[in-house]
C-alpha cells in the first residue's frame, strides 16, 4: 500500500542532512508503530523515499516522502500518530494514501515554490529597499537571464528565464500569482527583510535552485552574491497534471504545465 506524507523542517533541524532525516523518520515510525513495509534480506530496511532532498541549511514547509505500508486502517489518524513521535522542528502536515499504480513523486516533481529571505544583520543593497517589486519586474523583463551553472566538471551559461514562473516580494501577490494559500509557516518571516517568493521548475530535467535565481538577481543589480546571507525556505512542491511520461511542459508552452501540489496529486 502506497502513501505519501508532507512535512515541515525548520529551526536547528536545518543542519540535519537528508540521509539523517531519513534515519530520523525510520526511528520515529518504529516508535509510533507505523506499519511500514520492510525490504527483504539480512538487514531489512523500511521502504521510504524522499521526493527531493533538502540541502543542509535550508528549511521547508513542504517536504514530501513516499512510503510503502503493510496496512492503514485509519488514515485520518496517521498525522497525529506520527507527530506524537516527532520533535517540534520536524512536523508532519499531511498524509495521503495513493493508488497502487502511482509513480514515485521523485519522478513527477515539476515545480517548487521557495521563499528567499535576507538574514537579519546582513549588510545588503536589498535591505529595506522600497522598490523591491520594481527591481523584480525589471529583472524578469530581461530578454534572457544568463547564469553560470557549475556542475562537478563543467561550467556552462544557462538561460533560466523560462524556469522562473513567478517572482514577487509580497506574499499576497505571490499567492494570487500561484493561486495557493500557504497558511502559517514554520519560519518567522517577520525577522527577515526583504523576503522574495519564487516559483521555479524542478525535477530531474529542469531543476533550478533558488540560489541560482538569487545569484542572477545579485548580478542584475551588480552586487556580490554570498549564499550565507540568505535563508531559503521551501513552500511547496508540485507535479504536472498535464505531464505524461518523458514530456516536459513549461508554464508558457502551448500545452502549459498544470502544477498540482504533491499532496493532492493522484488523490
Amino acid at each position: 500500500m502506497k502513501a505519501r506524507i508532507k512535512f515541515s523542517k525548520c529551526g536547528s533541524m536545518r543542519f540535519i542532512g537528508h540521509l539523517d532525516v531519513m534515519r530520523y523518520f525510520q526511528k520515529a515510525f518504529r516508535r509510533a508503530h507505523i506499519p511500514v513495509s520492510y525490504s527483504k534480506g539480512y538487514s531489512p530496511h523500511q521502504i521510504l523515499s524522499f521526493t527531493s532532498p533538502l540541502g543542509i541549511g535550508l528549511t521547508s514547509d513542504a517536504e514530501y516522502m513516499d512510503m510503502e505500508l503493510e496496512e492503514c486502517p485509519e488514515p485520518e489518524k496517521m498525522v497525529d500518530w506520527i507527530n506524537s513521535q516527532m520533535n517540534d522542528e520536524i512536523r508532519v502536515k499531511d498524509f495521503v494514501l495513493l493508488p497502487d499504480d502511482s509513480k514515485p513523486s521523485m519522478a513527477m516533481l515539476a515545480g517548487c515554490d521557495y521563499l528567499v529571505a535576507l538574514k537579519p544583520g546582513k549588510v545588503s543593497v536589498f535591505r529595506d529597499r522600497k522598490d523591491m517589486e520594481q527591481v523584480l519586474v525589471d529583472f524578469l523583463a530581461q530578454p534572457e537571464i544568463l547564469v553560470t551553472k557549475k556542475t562537478k566538471r563543467s561550467e556552462k551559461q544557462v538561460d533560466i528565464k523560462p524556469n522562473i514562473y513567478y517572482l514577487s516580494s509580497s506574499m499576497e501577490d505571490f499567492q494570487v500569482q500561484t493561486g495557493r494559500e500557504y497558511g502559517s509557516l514554520c519560519i518567522d518571516i517577520e525577522e527577515y527583510q526583504p523576503v522574495i517568493y519564487c516559483q521555479l521548475t524542478a525535477g530531474s530535467v529542469l531543476n533550478i535552485k533558488p540560489e541560482l535565481v538569487m545569484q542572477a538577481l545579485c548580478q542584475f543589480v551588480d552586487t556580490p552574491y554570498d549564499p550565507l546571507d540568505y535563508q531559503i525556505h521551501r513552500l511547496e512542491m508540485y507535479g504536472d497534471a498535464n505531464g505524461k511520461k518523458g514530456e516536459i511542459h513549461l508554464l508558457h508552452d502551448e500545452v502549459p504545465c498544470e502544477l498540482v501540489p504533491l499532496s493532492e496529486y493522484q488523490k
Partner: protein, 626 residues
C-alpha cells in the same frame, strides 16, 4: 512555537563538518528550566560526538541526574578540530548541547576518563570553556571539575586539572554530593570549604589535599593527605544492587550515525576471568549479573522509546552470562517481529554461538572472532587466558562446516616474558586455522578462507598483575611487528592471512600515562599548549611535540615504561583501594612468571579481596569446580 537558540551562528555551522554534532535536540533529550533547578551539571566525554554518544556510562548518569528535580544534567563533547579552530579565533565559549549555555555557568563539569589518549582533549574542553586549566587557579566563577571512569583509577597524571575524582560507579554517591553542594551553597562557604565536604564522601578524591614526594631515582617516596578531611585511602564505589538502580528507559537517539547506533543492554558488570593484562577485569569486580526479567523489560522499553533498528548486549565477557541462551533466543523472537537486528557481542565459539550467529547474520559476510591474545599455550598461561589451541581449531572447524570462511584473530605483542618463539606461534596458529579449513574437501568448501590477524601493543595498567611489568619500547614493538610480518609471509597459507597492527608511538605514551605520576601534569600541559589534541587519532598525533615536552621537564618516557618495578615500590595509585588487594595482584604476577593459571571466579574463588563488597559472584553458590 518557541525557537531554540543555538550557540553557533549559521555561518559557522554551515562551514564545519557534521554540524549536527553541536545542536543537541536529539530524541529523548531532557528539557528543563535551568532557573528552576539547584544544580546544573554538565557531563563531558572528551572525544568527538560520535564516540562520546556511544558511551553507556553517560547515558546511565544522564538519566540518573535528570530523574532528580533539583538537578539538570546536560552534555558536551570535544569540538572537532575544524570548530576548535573557529572557536579559538572568534573567542566563542564552549557550550552545552541542551540549553546551548556556556559551560562556565554550570555548577559542575563532569568528565569521563575512558582512555588515556584523551588527556589533552580535557585541556581543550577546559580552555574553550574559559575555565582555568589548573584547579588551584579556579574561583567562585568556575564550575567544579570532576573526573570519573576507568582512568580515574590512576588520576595522578591529570590531577592538577581536576577539583575532584569520583572513584567507582556513579550510581551510588552522587545524590549525596548534590545534597552537600546545596548545603554548601546555602552556607556561603568558599571553594575549599566545599572540597573539604566532598573529600569526606566515600569514593571522592580531592587531589589538592594530597602531597607527593619522590626518591632520588624518581620513584614515589610518600603520598599523604595534608588536610584532616581527606582520607588516606579512597575506596572505590560499587553498585551492588543491579536491579533497583538507575538504567535508562529512554536513551538519547542521535541524528547522525554514531559508533554505537543501537540500543545497548548492559547484561552484567565485571568479569570472572581474571586475565592478567586486563584492567577492566579487576576494576569492575565482582561480577554482578542483571536479572533476566529486568533485561527483557528494559530491552522492550528502550526499543520502544528509541525506535532503534538494532540492539546489542554489553559486558566484558558476555558468554559468562548464565542465562545468555535464554536472553538471546528471546531477543531473536522479539526482534524478528519488528524488523530489528541483533548485533551480537563477541562470544566464545561453540554450538550455541554458531547457531545464533547463523540466525542473525549472513554467514557468508560475517566473521568469527577469536581473541587468544597470545600465540603459544605457554604465553596464554602467563596471561591467564583460558582459551586453548584445541578450542580454537575445533571452534573454527565447526564454523567452517557451517559455511563461515572469515576469521578474525586478536593478539598482543610485548607481553611480559614473551620470546620470539612465542611470537612466531601467532603466525603458526593463524596458518593452522587455514590448514584446518583446507582439510574440507574442495567440493564442500565455499571458496577461499580469509584470516585477519591483528596485534596490539601490550600496555601494563595499574591494578593488574602486570602493573610491575616492563613495557616494550617503541623500537622493540616495531621489531616484533616486522618479525611477525615476516613469519606470517612464510606460512604455507600466507595468501589467506592478512596482518594488521596498532600504532606503536601512541601505545608508548598510553603506557606512560597509565602508570604515570603527578609530574606528568606539566608535560601534558605543555604538549597541549604546543598544539596536541586528539592524540588518539593517528592523523593528529604529534610524537615529536611530546618528546620535547618530556625533555623540557627533565623526564623520560623510559622511566615509566622501561623498567620492571620492584615489589616494594610505592605506586602513585596505591592510595586507591579498588577492592582487589595488592597482595593478590602480586601473587598473580608471580604465578604469571611461572606460567600457572588461576581458576575463574565461578570455578574457585581466588581470594582477590572483592568479596568484601558482599555480593555478586563472591556470594554465588558454586556448582562444582570444573
Amino acid at each position: 512555537m518557541s525557537k531554540r537558540k543555538l550557540a553557533l551562528s549559521d555561518e559557522i555551522l554551515l562551514s564545519v563538518e557534521k554540524p549536527a554534532r553541536y545542536i543537541g535536540n536529539e530524541i529523548n533529550m531532557v528539557k528543563k528550566d535551568p532557573a528552576a533547578v539547584d544544580v546544573r551539571f554538565c557531563m563531558c566525554f572528551p572525544d568527538v560526538y560520535e564516540i562520546g554518544m556511544s558511551h553507556l556510562g553517560i547515558q546511565i548518569l544522564y538519566d540518573m541526574f535528570n530523574q532528580w528535580d533539583d538537578v539538570y544534567c546536560e552534555r558536551v563533547y570535544s569540538p572537532w578540530v575544524d570548530l576548535d579552530r573557529i572557536m579559538r579565533e572568534k573567542h566563542i565559549p564552549l557550550f552545552a548541547l541542551e540549553t546551548q549555555d556556556p559551560i562556565k555557568c554550570f555548577d559542575f563539569l563532569g568528565i569521563t576518563l575512558q582512555y588515556e589518549m584523551c588527556y589533552t582533549n580535557i585541556l581543550q574542553i577546559l580552555d574553550l570553556s574559559g575555565i582555568p586549566l589548573k584547579a588551584s587557579d579556579r574561583t567562585m566563577e568556575d564550575p567544579f571539575v570532576i573526573g570519573g571512569g576507568p582512568c580515574s583509577y590512576n588520576p595522578e597524571p591529570i590531577a592538577d586539572f581536576f577539583d575532584m575524582f569520583y572513584i567507582g560507579e556513579g550510581e551510588t554517591q552522587y545524590r549525596r554530593m548534590m545534597d552537600e553542594y546545596k548545603e554548601w551553597k546555602k552556607s556561603g562557604g568558599d571553594r575549599i570549604a566545599f572540597l573539604k565536604r566532598a573529600a569526606q564522601i566515600p569514593g571522592i578524591y580531592v587531589p589538592m589535599f594530597y602531597e607527593a614526594s619522590y626518591h632520588e631515582d624518581g620513584t614515589l617516596a610518600s603520598f599523604e593527605p595534608i588536610v584532616p578531611e581527606a582520607p588516606r585511602t579512597v575506596m572505590k564505589e560499587v553498585e551492588m544492587d543491579m536491579e533497583h538502580t538507575y538504567y535508562p528507559e529512554k536513551p538519547l537517539v542521535p541524528y547522525i550515525k554514531v559508533t554505537q547506533d543501537r540500543v545497548v543492554l548492559e547484561i552484567q558488570r565485571g568479569c570472572i576471568r581474571g586475565c592478567r593484562f586486563c584492567q577492566a577485569g579487576v576494576l569492575y569486580r565482582p561480577i554482578r549479573p542483571r536479572k533476566l526479567e529486568f533485561l527483557k523489560e528494559r530491552a522492550i522499553k528502550m526499543l520502544e522509546s528509541t525506535g532503534h533498528e538494532e540492539i546489542t548486549l554489553s559486558s566484558l565477557s558476555s558468554s559468562d552470562y548464565k542465562e545468555l541462551p535464554e536472553l538471546v533466543y528471546w531477543l531473536i523472537d522479539e526482534c524478528s517481529k519488528n524488523g530489528i537486528n541483533i548485533a551480537l557481542p563477541s562470544l566464545r565459539i561453540d554450538a550455541f554461538s554458531l547457531d545464533v550467529m547463523s540466525k542473525v547474520q549472513d554467514v557468508r559476510k560475517s566473521s568469527l572472532t577469536f581473541a587468544p591474545e597470545a600465540g603459544s599455550q605457554r604465553m596464554r598461561n602467563v596471561i591467564n587466558k583460558g582459551l586453548t589451541e584445541e578450542n580454537i581449531l575445533n571452534g573454527a572447524m565447526d564454523a567452517f562446516r557451517g559455511g563461515w570462511t572469515r576469521v578474525k584473530l586478536y593478539f598482543m605483542l610485548g607481553l611480559p616474558g614473551e620470546t620470539y618463539d612465542d611470537i612466531e606461534e601467532i603466525a603458526i596458529l593463524s596458518d593452522k586455522i587455514a590448514r584446518e579449513y583446507y582439510t574440507i574437501p574442495k567440493e564442500e568448501r565455499k571458496g577461499k578462507v580469509n584470516i585477519v590477524t591483528s596485534t596490539s601493543i601490550f600496555v601494563p595498567k595499574p591494578f593488574t598483575p602486570f602493573q610491575w611489568a616492563r613495557m616494550n619500547s617503541q623500537q622493540e614493538a616495531v621489531e616484533k611487528r616486522n618479525f611477525l610480518l615476516g613469519k606470517v609471509k612464510s606460512q604455507l597459507n600466507a595468501k589467506s592471512i592478512k596482518y594488521n597492527c596498532h600504532d606503536a608511538d601512541v601505545s608508548v605514551l598510553e603506557g606512560v600515562f597509565a602508570r604515570g605520576d603527578r609530574r606528568l601534569n606539566d608535560v601534558i600541559l605543555q604538549a597541549y599548549k604546543e598544539g596536541c589534541i586528539y592524540d588518539a587519532w593517528t592523523e593528529y598525533f604529534k610524537y615529536d611535540v611530546w618528546q620535547k615536552a618530556f625533555a623540557d621537564h627533565d623526564l623520560t618516557m623510559d622511566f615509566y615504561n622501561d623498567r620492571e618495578r620492584s615489589e616494594d615500590e610505592l605506586f602513585p595509585w596505591d592510595f586507591i583501594d579498588c577492592g582487589v588487594t595488592k597482595s593478590f595482584l602480586l601473587r598473580e604476577y608471580h604465578r604469571a612468571k611461572e606460567a600457572v593459571v588461576t581458576p575463574n571466579c565461578r570455578q574457585q574463588c581466588a581470594g582477590c579481596g572483592a568479596a568484601r563488597f558482599g555480593g555478586g559472584v563472591c556470594t554465588e553458590k558454586r556448582e562444582s569446580a570444573v
